[in-house]
């Protein structure tokens, strides 16, 4: 069942639209949203969390439009959908102890006695694998991994149905990342949580999400089963992302040249970076269409699908330069 969905959502800061006509559904189980910095993924997360209103389109919670929810509906939404941000030190008030931060979440929707609060805080900290004694610490007295666990405990305090995870591990050391991902996986299973996982790390979505969408310049360019996207990308951008991920003992990552090229204003937004761009890509904006079990917005998706990965172009050597001037 779909809990939270963006339907044709366009988001803008002032006159600049950063997310264009995005449709995305988060159901029970994990959904991935893959994008690089500047792709609009965090802005989209803010809209899904009700922190920002779409310029057009609808963010749907259950059956209702988020922007039109009444007081009670909004309170219910707030209990049901909780964020976990990139950096626990940013998401926790620096002046509050871990216990106070979690207590704030506990008492926002329910009255509780002091003893009950202490018990719940201890139970939540234990649930995220922390010593309850940490309740007395302030964010700067904890490690990055501990802060992120406290932030997760705080989100769980309201017993949400869905988490919006915005780069939840990218500020952490690799071994800590792995432990936080283990934790999220376990919690999601135990509490029956749905989640939207926003990240630029394909390895992370590969592990935690059944379906994923790839965002480029504020547009979903490919979406479908994560495994399909990672093993047989149909969009050249998905493929570039995949090939750029360094793998242990694997081939050196493939540099997909021209990363500085801007998104094109007309035609396919990816065409200035695309090794496969042809005239058609300049003339017509590709619309999302069904291709072999996924939705993809590329004129040449079939060709991408049926080209061996090794034939993707590498970064040009020698003096030719991959940069296009910025606007």
């Amino acid at each position: 069942m779909t809990l939270l969905a963006a339907e044709g959502v366009t988001l803008a800061y002032g006159a600049t639209a950063v997310v264009h006509d995005v449709t995305l559904a988060v159901d029970e189980g994990g959904v991935g949203l893959i994008g690089e910095s500047g792709s609009g993924k965090t802005t989209l997360a803010r809209a899904l969390l009700g922190l920002m209103r779409p310029r057009s389109g609808v963010v749907r919670y259950g059956a209702g439009d988020l922007a039109r929810l009444g007081r009670a509906g909004r309170a219910e939404f707030r209990r049901a959908v909780q964020p976990v941000f990139q950096d626990g030190s940013e998401a926790l008030d620096p002046r509050m102890t871990a216990g106070a931060s979690i207590t704030e979440a506990l008492t926002t929707h329910h009255r509780m006695s002091g003893a009950e609060r202490r018990d719940r805080v201890a139970a939540l900290l234990a649930d995220v694998g922390l010593d309850p004694a940490l309740a007395a610490r302030r964010p700067h007295e904890m490690s990055g991994g501990q802060r992120q666990r406290v932030a997760i405990a705080r989100a769980l305090a309201v017993e949400p149905r869905l988490l919006v995870l915005d780069e939840p591990t990218s500020a952490l050391d690799v071994t800590v990342q792995a432990r936080i991902l283990d934790l999220l996986e376990r919690l999601a299973a135990e509490h029956g949580l749905g989640y939207l996982l926003i990240t630029h790390n394909l390895g992370v979505v590969g592990r935690l999400c059944r379906t994923s969408s790839v965002l480029f310049a504020g547009r979903v360019v490919e979406s479908g089963p994560t495994r399909e996207l990672l093993t047989r990308p149909a969009h050249p951008y998905t493929r570039a992302l995949r090939d750029a991920v360094p793998r242990l003992g694997g081939e050196p990552p493939r540099a997909a040249g021209r990363t500085e090229a801007a998104a094109a204003a007309t035609g396919c937004p990816f065409r200035l970076r695309c090794p496969l761009a042809v005239d058609r890509c300049r003339e017509a904006t590709p619309q999302a269409r069904e291709v072999e079990g996924r939705k993809v917005a590329c004129h040449r998706a079939e060709e991408v699908l049926h080209t061996p990965a090794s034939s993707a172009p590498r970064v040009p050597h020698g003096g030719e330069t991959p940069d296009a001037p910025r606007q």
Partner: protein
């Protein structure tokens, strides 16, 4: 000073300062001496009556001596005693002005910074209007309209002082409002007034507190200026600016009448400044 106040001081800025910035500590100590002088004036002043309207015509204009450390003024009052009592007036004005303008500025600033939109526009435009007048002129104008008194001085200065705090707080609060923990509280459904009180306000206060301590000296100087111009405290109140004004014509003959209150102004303003600078250096790290 009460015990709880002392412990908070020790726990937060002062203790962190210790050993870091000697000048700031010196400022804090000097200011402490001034505060003590103000609090204890009735008991430590050698001639408590001289703080007010007493006159001793036979002892007028005696130079500093063992009996009168700072000498005596035109009507024979002990200048040392009057400087001690003057500390009460000056600190009262400083504390009152900073409290009134600080509270007004911070409340308006936090609202403007967090709410944004038209609320911020309205508050900031009003602030700009106040800031458009030269502060001293506006204070002067107000002081002329109202009756000269200590209260007048407080009102006149506070009116020109709050917009600075409003502007400073608004900019800090606006950046705090974009922090993750504020978003996180909004996502929990914490009502906006509570978010402001719990998260935005406490995290916006530090720069304002630094500014307040830096401004203590400025307020005392302005108050002295107003009194000097006859628009503030008046006889027989002990007020440093007033004392300077009354003694200035005697500077060449009886220098002590004007010099000691002048020094008191200087020392107090200076200690506020170095303390504020020290706080700023420490807290901005």
């Amino acid at each position: 000073m009460t015990a709880p106040a002392l412990t908070t001081l020790r726990r937060t800025p002062l203790r962190r300062l210790a050993g870091v910035d000697r000048l700031a500590v010196a400022g804090a100590v000097l200011l402490g001496v001034v505060v003590l002088a103000a609090l204890l004036a009735p008991w430590i002043a050698p001639y408590p009556g001289d703080g007010g309207s007493a006159t001793h015509p036979l002892e007028a204009l005696l130079p500093p001596s063992g009996a009168h450390w700072f000498g005596t003024d035109q009507v024979g009052r002990d200048v040392f005693s009057r400087v001690l009592f003057g500390a009460r007036t000056s600190l009262l004005i400083a504390v009152a002005v900073l409290a009134v303008s600080g509270v007004a500025g911070v409340v308006l600033g936090v609202v403007a910074g967090y709410a944004g939109g038209w609320a911020r526009d309205v508050i900031m435009r009003v602030t700009d209007i106040f800031l458009a007048f030269p502060a001293l002129l506006l204070s002067l104008a107000l002081a002329v309209v109202l009756q000269p008194s200590v209260t007048t001085v407080i009102v006149a200065i506070a009116v020109t002082w709050w917009p600075w705090y409003a502007r400073l707080t608004a900019s800090v609060a606006a950046s705090v409002a974009t922090r993750g923990f504020v978003d996180s509280a909004r996502c929990l459904g914490v009502p906006a007034p509570l978010i402001v009180l719990r998260h935005v306000l406490p995290n916006s206060l530090t720069p304002v507190l630094v500014q307040l301590s830096l401004d203590g000296g400025g307020v005392i100087l302005t108050a002295a200026a107003l009194s000097y111009l006859g628009l503030g405290a008046h006889e027989p109140t002990s007020e440093w600016g007033l004392m300077v004004q009354q003694g200035q014509s005697l500077f060449t003959t009886d220098w002590w009448v004007v010099t000691f209150p002048g020094l008191a102004i200087l020392v107090t303003a200076f200690s506020f400044n170095v303390l504020g600078e020290g706080l700023r250096a420490r807290l901005s790290r």
